[in-house]
């Protein structure tokens, strides 16, 4: 198996775990009419640690998995996450990628951008027009969750890459 494929598998496994945990958290938070948006956690490690091909494939497939569970046009999450991944990957060489604080900041920014893009698409396409009373608390709790989990999430992805014999950060031509 090629290095890029091993990286893709490792990232997909980490993302699958994260999607599962997020679904359990959403189930528990439903009583308060809240839901977490953790797109930044799904794409930031892929954009900062993996090669472009491995990261893009992992992020796109993860997005499709989210689309399969949601009543949205199939591909919406996938394309939004892929676009945010492309933007973060394009600037990653200018960032000190090994710094934990910067990783958290990148995940927070990616989460905010991806959520805004998704919200704009949904507002244009669907009948729902959620107000600030819904969006603002959801944004705050999502950003808080990203800030809390980002370091763990990066560590998990690095360990998984190591487990699969795919060195994180190794960019193949």
């Amino acid at each position: 198996m090629s290095h890029a494929s091993r990286q893709t598998l490792a990232l997909l496994l980490g993302n699958a775990l994260l999607v599962f945990l997020a679904a359990q958290a959403d189930h528990a938070l439903a009583g308060w009419q809240l839901r977490l948006w953790l797109g930044g956690l799904l794409l930031a490690p892929a954009a900062l640690l993996a090669s472009h091909r491995a990261g893009a494939v992992a992020v796109f497939v993860t997005g499709l998995a989210l689309d399969a569970r949601a009543p949205v046009p199939f591909g919406t999450h996938a394309l939004v996450l892929l676009a945010a991944h492309a933007a973060l990957f394009a600037v990653r060489d200018r960032l000190a990628r090994d710094t934990p604080a910067l990783r958290v900041a990148a995940a927070l920014m990616a989460n905010l951008v991806a959520l805004a893009a998704f919200g704009l698409i949904m507002a244009a396409a669907g009948p729902a027009r959620p107000g600030a009373g819904r969006l603002l608390p959801e944004l705050l709790i999502s950003q808080a969750a990203v800030a809390l989990c980002a370091t763990w999430c990066f560590a998990l992805q690095e360990r998984l890459c190591a487990l699969f014999g795919a060195r994180p950060g190794l960019e193949l031509p």
Partner: protein, 290 residues
């Protein structure tokens, strides 16, 4: 092997994005439908296992209760059961009477439903959609569009049916709408004029809400005596008379002919653990699901 220049490294992600976007638009719908179903089914076992673990957790939590508490709960259940048995007998008599009157008037029989009770696997209450995943699907004959109810009234409609699970669009989902009738405070019979109910904006930390449209101008709301909404039975999806919610506010619509209103739904909708799917005995009669 040539090393890519920094500018090409930076532009490559966006070129890839453009290629993927164009390719995705060209993928046939049948392939997308298959992929969607496959990815949903791939995730379903994990969600179902998590719900079974929660059930087990609840079971062991109940096992820690003292025996006296369980005996008292058993007595309460027996009393409730006796009451329900009387109710069932009365219902049987009413059904027989109803069938006799239908036969006398040569009316078609009302739609019949088979009840399927299902545990809730997952609640997904987003700002843009509100849905539940339940632990029964095509394996129990659940059909798309089937009404879903609970002890407090209407839950919603089945949106998708998969092999062992189904997705239910909640009443609070913006894509759900149905014809309802209003029962004024103190009234025993509903106003016969149907009104349109739709799922609405659901603010955080509050009960789910819906909106009322095309309500007659003479319906009023006074604090402390809120009109109730019941299903009208029109459209043939929901049986008539199921509770939907309470009207908390009414205001004239922009055209001045009707009123629009705000509906407060049952707060228990947000914490449902079990629901009942009313599977129609003639499933082809159901209109399309949202």
């Amino acid at each position: 092997m040539p090393v890519p220049s920094p500018s090409s490294r930076q532009s490559r992600p966006f070129i890839t994005l453009g290629v993927v976007l164009v390719a995705w638009l060209l993928v046939p719908a049948v392939v997308k439908r298959f992929l969607r179903a496959a990815l949903f089914e791939a995730q379903a076992p994990a969600a179902v296992t998590a719900s079974r673990v929660r059930d087990l957790q609840e079971y062991w939590a109940l096992r820690t209760r003292p025996a006296n508490e369980l005996i008292a709960a058993g007595k309460d259940t027996a009393r409730a059961l006796a009451g329900y048995e009387l109710g069932v007998e009365r219902l049987g008599l009413l059904e027989a009477e109803n069938a006799r009157l239908h036969a006398l008037l040569s009316l078609p029989p009302p739609p019949g439903f088979r009840q399927e009770h299902a545990r809730v696997v997952e609640r997904d209450f987003s700002a843009w959609w509100q849905q539940l995943v339940i632990r029964k699907g095509a394996d129990y004959g659940i059909t798309v569009g089937a009404p879903v109810v609970f002890a407090g009234g209407v839950v919603g409609r089945v949106r998708e049916v998969r092999a062992t699970t189904s997705v239910v669009a909640l009443l609070s989902d913006p894509s759900v709408s149905l014809a309802v009738v209003v029962v004024g405070p103190g009234d025993t019979r509903p106003d016969p004029r149907p009104v349109k109910y739709s799922g609405g904006d659901n603010p955080a930390f509050g009960p789910a809400r819906g909106t009322l449209e095309f309500a007659p101008a003479d319906i009023t709301v006074t604090p402390g005596a809120l009109p109730r909404l019941l299903t009208s039975g029109l459209g043939g999806v929901f049986p008539a008379g199921l509770p939907v919610g309470e009207v908390t506010r009414m205001e004239p619509s922009p055209d001045g002919l009707f009123q629009t209103g705000e509906v407060r739904l049952n707060p228990a909708l947000a914490t449902l653990e079990e629901v009942t799917v009313l599977v129609p005995e003639a499933p082809t009669a159901l209109p399309a699901a949202p």
